[in-house]
């Protein structure tokens, strides 16, 4: 045993020395190109949120002469800090951390590496070299609400949601306002899963909502689990993140989707040119960073026109989604007639609008 272990240990040491000596031959050795690191909360094959970010990464590779590295399924714990340090150790000069729960860790690491540009998706903490970015996905969510509101027959729409944080709550509210703009009687029922990525749990939550009478399933989750539930139970669905038509051809109608590529290219170009500055980007449909996926033929009659009309109004600023009068679940007037919620208020939104059944824990 002793000799065996000594053998392994010496093997390890020798190999690591060899490895050190030949570092120049490593794949990360192309020094001219900028290396950009991406940290994902799920696998790139999730068909949803992480997939959308990874499409952005590929778009970046196609459009700029950069080298990208990524790491999948990084939990929202101190592990993300290690992964970021690893990537910087491997030469990354820009880091995109793509999940909300990475926030504190990214903020901490960014202070240790002032020469690296950090981008955190969906958070609210910035530092001198940490920017935040997100899209006004609530705009296309509102549009998807119109489709759901026109389609539902039971007036019972199920919504599978990850965590009760402002990002998710805002989405549910916008969706509900969209539903009620065409169907004031419809109710949106929310089920929390406490996970971003867990196909089985998300599917179960959707099944429970369907059992309680929902005939449309919408979601704020990273996977296609809820879509599959809708498909199997023969109800209709609204996806999220990417076009999910292939996952649920008999259920899927449309989805609010992400288009990260152009933002990634713009920002990495800034890093290359030495023009990177910390910022808080929150682009909407006018930037094409968020949009509604094409409606499938399962979408109800008149939906195409209604969506198109609302979309034009949003783009012209004629329709502001969070403009009063808006009431909360208890019927209190939260936003007065003619008033608009500020970005700050929207980013801290911790209440549900009228017409939602469910609690914020």
């Amino acid at each position: 045993m002793r000799k065996f272990l000594l053998l392994i240990l010496s093997l390890v040491l020798v190999l690591s020395m060899v490895a050190c000596g030949t570092e120049g031959d490593q794949p990360s050795g192309e020094e001219e190109d900028l290396t950009v690191g991406f940290i994902y909360v799920g696998p790139i094959g999730d068909g949803g949120y992480t997939y959308a970010h990874d499409q952005g990464r590929l778009y970046l590779e196609d459009n700029l002469n950069v080298n990208t590295i990524y790491k999948e399924s990084v939990p929202e714990t101190q592990e993300v800090e290690q992964e970021i340090r690893n990537m910087i150790d491997q030469g990354a000069k820009a880091i995109f951390a793509t999940s909300f729960g990475y926030m504190d860790y990214v903020a901490k690491v960014s202070e240790d590496y002032p020469e690296v540009a950090f981008f955190h998706c969906s958070g609210y903490k910035t530092t001198d070299n940490l920017a935040t970015y997100f899209g006004r996905i609530y705009q296309p969510r509102y549009l998807s609400g119109i489709v759901a509101g026109l389609k539902t027959e039971t007036n019972n729409i199920g919504y599978v949601a990850a965590y009760p944080i402002p990002e998710v709550i805002r989405g549910i509210n916008a969706f509900t306002l969209g539903v009620q703009s065409v169907n004031p009687d419809a109710v949106v029922r929310v089920k929390w899963t406490s996970t971003w990525y867990d196909p089985a749990t998300e599917k179960e939550a959707a099944v429970a909502l369907i059992d309680e009478g929902a005939d449309i399933i919408a979601q704020h989750q990273d996977t296609t689990g809820p879509q599959q539930a809708a498909e199997e139970r023969g109800v209709y669905s609204i996806g999220y993140n990417t076009d999910m038509a292939e996952m649920a051809p008999e259920a899927y109608m449309t989805a609010p989707i992400w288009n990260w590529g152009p933002y990634y290219v713009e920002q990495v170009q800034n890093v290359i040119d030495g023009n990177f500055q910390s910022h808080q980007y929150w682009g909407g449909m006018e930037d094409d960073v968020v949009k509604l996926a094409p409606l499938t033929e399962l979408a109800p009659e008149g939906a195409e026109e209604a969506v198109e009309e609302a979309k034009e109004k949003i783009l012209n600023d004629e329709l502001i989604i969070f403009e009063g009068p808006i009431y909360d679940q208890e019927g209190n007037l939260k936003v007065e007639e003619g008033q608009q919620m500020t970005d700050e208020e929207m980013l801290n939104m911790m209440w549900f609008v009228e017409g939602i059944e469910g609690n914020i824990e």
Partner: protein
């Protein structure tokens, strides 16, 4: 074919078997890497490079080595008594939970006192969690493999409950996260590594002396070899088991304290990071000898770290990297079977063959 226990296998033979296993694992995982479209040799070298290739990477690997060695030491004491403590994971979590309680609620204490309190209660937490299966075992002869394993799930769900419920940081806007510890609840660093590495070295020395030089260490050994002998020679077996498990679980609890205070800076439901399970393998492979736990833990930490590295360096999917790690593990552990046993052809067949020949 049937298997026969090997008597006094020669060192040469054992080394041959183990070397064969390593080579076999490299060939098989090499084939797998080849089919993924990479040069296996480059990937293996890269794995080593990722784990030990720079000061920074070595430090990172040591951060994995520390909990592996400590947990292995804890499990070793139980294993020596043939008490199969599969509950390292839960003991780590509860140790972390106890320590976190003080970090979150007594942050006004001066740093050395707070850390000492966290350390002590980390030990107590882990010890309590191991004590339950130990008492069940000596009182009711329950199967400790099952009870310690089940205690893991209770611990995990307890921490999850606190993280998603009562302990959730009110400043996190609904995101299930326990507040970060204040500065005085964080372990200080020595040479860029949290002070746990010194604790670990001390623990290896103390445990080595404890098991080989003290009366109580001897009792543990006797209980492991034969409870009847132990009874006959006047050793109070139940007391030895209970005391042993308090130490075993307590050491795992200290791992939990060091992970929340030295590495994570807060408690999460992922704080144990599978160390409780990986340590079962490292403890077993070390032959229950403290001095061997170190090289085995270094090897395993290298595998974990190197596996993570090749994911980003070669864009090998996470699951594929895990398959490579598991293949290497499978061979290494599998070889232990052949060190212990040998396969011989079934006698009946042999006789038949003989008859045919004659």
């Amino acid at each position: 074919m049937r298997m026969i226990k090997r008597e006094n296998i020669s060192n040469k033979k054992a080394i041959q078997i183990r070397t064969g296993a390593i080579i076999g694992s490299l060939i098989l995982s090499g084939l797998f890497i080849f089919f993924l479209g990479h040069n296996p040799l480059d990937v293996f070298i890269s794995m080593m490079d990722g784990a030990f290739g720079s000061i920074y990477r070595i430090k990172d690997t040591i951060n994995i080595i520390i909990p592996l060695i400590m947990t292995s030491l804890g499990l070793m004491i139980a294993f020596k008594m043939k008490f199969w403590n599969i509950g390292g994971e839960g003991q780590i979590l509860i140790g972390a939970l106890f320590a976190s309680y003080f970090a979150l609620n007594f942050s006004f204490l001066p740093k050395p006192i707070l850390l000492l309190v966290m350390f002590i209660f980390g030990f107590i937490g882990g010890a309590l969690w191991a004590l339950v299966p130990a008492v069940l075992k000596v009182k009711f002869e329950t199967n400790e493999t099952i009870t310690t394993l089940m205690m893991n799930y209770i611990a995990l769900n307890l921490v999850t409950y606190l993280q998603y419920g009562p302990w959730k940081d009110p400043q996190s806007f609904g995101f299930p996260k326990i507040a970060n510890f204040t500065e005085n609840a964080l372990l200080p660093k020595v040479f860029g590594l949290h002070i746990g590495w010194i604790v670990t070295i001390l623990a290896v020395v103390i445990i080595s002396i404890f098991v080989s030089k003290t009366k109580y260490g001897y009792e543990i050994k006797v209980v492991g070899e034969s409870k009847d002998t132990a009874n006959y020679s006047g050793i109070r077996v139940n007391r030895v088991i209970i005391r042993g498990l308090i130490i075993s679980g307590g050491i795992c609890g200290i791992v939990g304290m060091m992970e929340v205070s030295g590495v994570n800076g807060t408690l999460t439901d992922q704080v144990s990071a599978g160390y409780g399970y990986t340590a079962i393998i490292t403890t077993w492979l070390s032959g229950l000898k403290p001095s061997f736990i170190i090289p085995v833990s270094v090897l395993f930490a290298g595998l974990i770290k190197g596996g993570g590295f090749i994911q980003t360096a070669y864009q090998i999917p996470q699951s594929a990297a895990e398959i490579i790690q598991s293949m290497i593990l499978f061979f290494v552990i599998g070889s232990e079977f052949f060190v212990q046993y040998k396969l011989v052809p079934d006698k009946r067949n042999e006789k038949g063959r003989e008859r045919n020949v004659s």
